[in-house]
């Protein structure tokens, strides 16, 4: 308990990081409805023309995209583009209105963008769409004001979209709280980091030579000692799992659905895996001052490669194929299945059970490895004595 108390601050830090990161991530919200919503690019307009036509264009861009303000300073724009606070900066050059009225579309705009990205192509597509529509209406005999209005109307016309064909869980997570999904995905980092950071030092003390010798000379059998260590670790694991879920429960406004119960089961399976990882690290007896480095390497590395921080859909097929050999992959996949809009029916349940089963197999393999390593070490110690 003394050791656990000294590590409480670190454990709380990890929980705080999870809450903060989850909140930050959730603030970058995507479409959560059931109809198709066109992507909105974070765009900024620098209007050097300040004419009726340029103001109409700015208005159209504001309706089609998310308009943000940006200073006309290259360094500021570079910062904003790099951190994706803005994805496209359009400079409407002086004389735009006049040129448009005369039918001249050369040298109307300048732009700052991250070249060759889909977001830049998309923005330029919508810009072409608008200019072509305005020019077409003007050439068809409309006066400029009417052409500007009609052009914007045509460029914003609704397209008939049919949604179907399955789709991935990432975009179809629809009605599931985005924040909730984010938290559950981040447990791959949180559980492993806290288990290793807090459980390992406690177990390392119990496995220290002096304490080990004192316990060996007591009337407790080795099996009973191992069992008690396992039980102690189990209590700690359950406590951590419950604590984290209570926090998510609280963040969720104290309401739980059937899906959240499945998340509970899934997170418990991964908590067992994390306990297995912590026990295995302890059985290898690392120095106490490197435990956090080992914990960070495993928790962060596994989380990144298995799609906890980056959506699985963005990772390559090769990476996902390699990630299948890690328990976090099956945990994240189960989370996505639970959160997916197609979360019903037999096939869904079968996939979910496979993911849960594989996690439990990983946990069993880790516990078996712990026993094997402990036995081998004990055998070597006996032989040396």
């Amino acid at each position: 308990m003394k050791i656990a108390k000294s590590k409480l601050g670190v454990a709380m830090t990890f929980v705080l990081i999870m809450v903060a990161v989850g909140l930050m991530n959730s603030s970058t919200s995507d479409n959560n409805g059931n109809s198709f919503a066109s992507t909105k690019i974070k765009a900024a307009v620098i209007d050097e023309d300040d004419s009726e036509a340029s103001r109409a264009l700015t208005e159209y861009i504001a309706s089609a995209h998310t308009l943000t303000e940006v200073e006309n300073d290259k360094d500021v724009i570079l910062d904003k583009l790099f951190y994706q606070k803005v994805q496209y900066v359009l400079v409407i050059k002086e004389g735009y209105g006049e040129k448009l009225a005369n039918g001249d579309t050369s040298d109307l705009f300048e732009n700052y963008k991250d070249p060759n990205t889909f977001s830049a192509s998309f923005f330029e597509n919508t810009l072409d769409e608008y200019v072509a529509a305005v020019r077409g209406c003007a050439a068809g005999g409309e006066d400029m004001s009417a052409a500007l209005e009609k052009g914007a109307e045509l460029a914003s016309a609704k397209v008939d979209v049919k949604i179907g064909g399955g789709g991935n869980a990432e975009s179809a997570s629809g009605n599931q709280s985005r924040l909730n999904v984010m938290y559950y995905k981040m447990l791959t980092f949180l559980f492993v980091a806290i288990m290793v950071e807090v459980l390992c030092p406690i177990l390392l003390v119990l496995k220290g030579d002096e304490i080990r010798k004192r316990m060996d000379s007591s009337c407790l059998s080795r099996t009973s000692q191992t069992l008690q260590i396992f039980l102690g670790s189990a209590v700690y694991t359950v406590a951590l799992w419950a604590f984290v879920n209570i926090i998510i429960f609280a963040m969720n406004g104290f309401s739980y659905s059937a899906r959240d119960c499945l998340h509970l089961v899934n997170s418990f399976a991964f908590a067992l895996v994390s306990a297995g990882i912590a026990l295995l690290i302890t059985s290898l007896k690392p120095a106490e001052n490197v435990i956090n480095l080992i914990g960070m390497s495993i928790s962060l590395g596994m989380s990144f490669i298995c799609g906890s921080f980056v959506p699985m859909s963005m990772l390559g097929d090769g990476i996902l194929a390699a990630a299948r050999f890690l328990p976090a992959y099956w945990y994240v996949r189960a989370s996505e299945i639970i959160s997916g809009s197609q979360a019903s029916g037999g096939a869904y349940m079968k996939d979910l059970l496979i993911c849960l089963g594989i996690q439990l197999l990983f946990a069993a393999a880790l516990f078996a490895s712990v026993l094997a390593v402990t036995r081998a070490r004990h055998g070597r110690q006996k032989a040396a004595a």
Binding site: N34, F36, T117, F118, G167, A172, V290, G301, M314
Partner: protein, 377 residues
């Protein structure tokens, strides 16, 4: 005496093989994972042709001409595949195409699998653009058929309508900042070595601290030697991990690599001095101080964007002062400045901030450890 203390400090440091090994292995393992995870993300975001299935329920020659014009251009936006409805939906379900364009007698419509997506939005935008042109031409045909050639001509956008102003010659891959933050994290984790300097110089906290305090060596000389030894140790770890990331993983840090090393090394010094400062606070045990130091390092790294890339940008919007004083953010910003800006103004500002942080932590540690007397141990 200083050189003697320094020599033994380096020897002690080198004997702590496990810590040194992990300080080197940790960024190598994480850097490799980052490279595997992020290596393809940026290139996958670079625009290439969007695979799209076309289901023609009625023949539309104009549409076919437009689509084949797009597909045969030098830099095609779409990679169309003409097929029937059933097979198109199967392709969509398997992720072989990003969307379906249906050509019906009422016009064009679209089929997608999810409720959003940039590729799907581009398909939607193309359909809208096509429909708008069709509508304008139809209106011209109804009002004044003679104006059709002029309308078609007017709707051709000239290629030099929109020109791009280049901002930087540096690497604009957003995911490079994870590597910046990884090196910053290695630097911050140098606090573990800094922590031991303070612990081993306080008689009430460790047996070697008690021995050091009764020895005739000047305490300041001993601490400076210990700090220098740890700085050297940390510098070696940073140089190895940065070299691995730059040369083995091939992460592009820009053209000013020596200055990247300088920033990393100073980041390592900031971590060591921070550990020294934390270790000098009060009489808490090594466990509690390690916890405190690790918590602080983790918070700094998390706020710098180790887990969520754009967290630093959000902080710069709402609480910019945090980015200015967070050592991990300052280290990662110095790499960013070297990569993207042509001048050195911002880089010098970051390096100066790092030096101030190092001096503040070191002086704070000195002030807390000096002239301590122990009534009993």
């Amino acid at each position: 005496m200083f050189l003697h203390s320094l020599k033994y400090e380096i020897k002690v440091g080198l004997r702590n093989k496990e810590l040194i090994m992990w300080l080197i292995i940790f960024p190598i393992v994480l850097g490799t994972f980052f490279k595997i995870a992020f290596g393809n993300i940026y290139s996958s975001e670079i625009a290439s042709s969007i695979p799209v299935a076309v289901v023609e329920n009625v023949e539309n020659k104009t549409f076919d001409t437009v689509m084949s014009g797009i597909a045969e251009s030098d830099d095609p936006l779409f990679d169309p595949c003409y097929t029937d409805e059933e097979s198109a939906e199967e392709k969509l379900k398997n992720g072989d195409v990003s969307g379906i364009i249906y050509v019906d007698k009422d016009g064009l419509s679209m089929g997608v699998s999810g409720t959003d997506g940039i590729e799907q939005s581009i398909i939607e935008s193309f359909i809208r653009q096509y429909t708008a042109r069709e509508t304008v031409i139809k209106a011209a045909a109804e009002n004044d058929p003679m104006s059709i050639p002029a309308v078609v001509e007017a709707m051709n956008i000239s290629e030099d309508m929109n020109s791009t102003i280049p901002l930087t010659d540096g690497n604009t891959d957003l995911y490079i900042q994870y590597f910046y933050n990884l090196i910053a994290m290695v630097g911050m984790f140098g606090s573990i070595t800094g922590l031991h300097i303070a612990m081993e110089n306080q008689a009430n906290l460790s047996p070697s601290g008690a021995r050091n305090n009764v020895s005739p060596v000047n305490k300041l000389t001993k601490i400076i030697a210990s700090l220098l030894g740890s700085f050297l140790e940390q510098a070696v770890c940073i140089v190895i991990s940065t070299s691995y990331i730059a040369f083995v993983l091939g992460v592009d840090f820009g053209s000013r690599l020596p200055l990247v090393y300088l920033s990393g090394i100073l980041g390592g010094f900031a971590g060591v001095s921070m550990g020294f400062f934390v270790g000098s606070i009060g009489s808490m045990g090594i466990g509690a101080k390690t916890g405190l130091s690790m918590s602080f390092s983790m918070i700094c790294c998390a706020l710098s964007g180790l887990m969520v890339g754009d967290i630093k940008a959000m902080i710069s919007e709402y609480a910019p002062v945090i980015n200015k004083i967070n050592p991990a953010a300052v280290i990662s910003d110095s790499f960013y400045c070297l990569n993207l800006y042509r001048d050195y103004d911002r880089y010098i500002e970051k390096i100066a901030t790092l030096l101030i942080i190092i001096m503040a932590f070191t002086l704070g540690g000195f002030l807390m450890t000096r002239r301590k007397k122990y009534a009993s141990l």
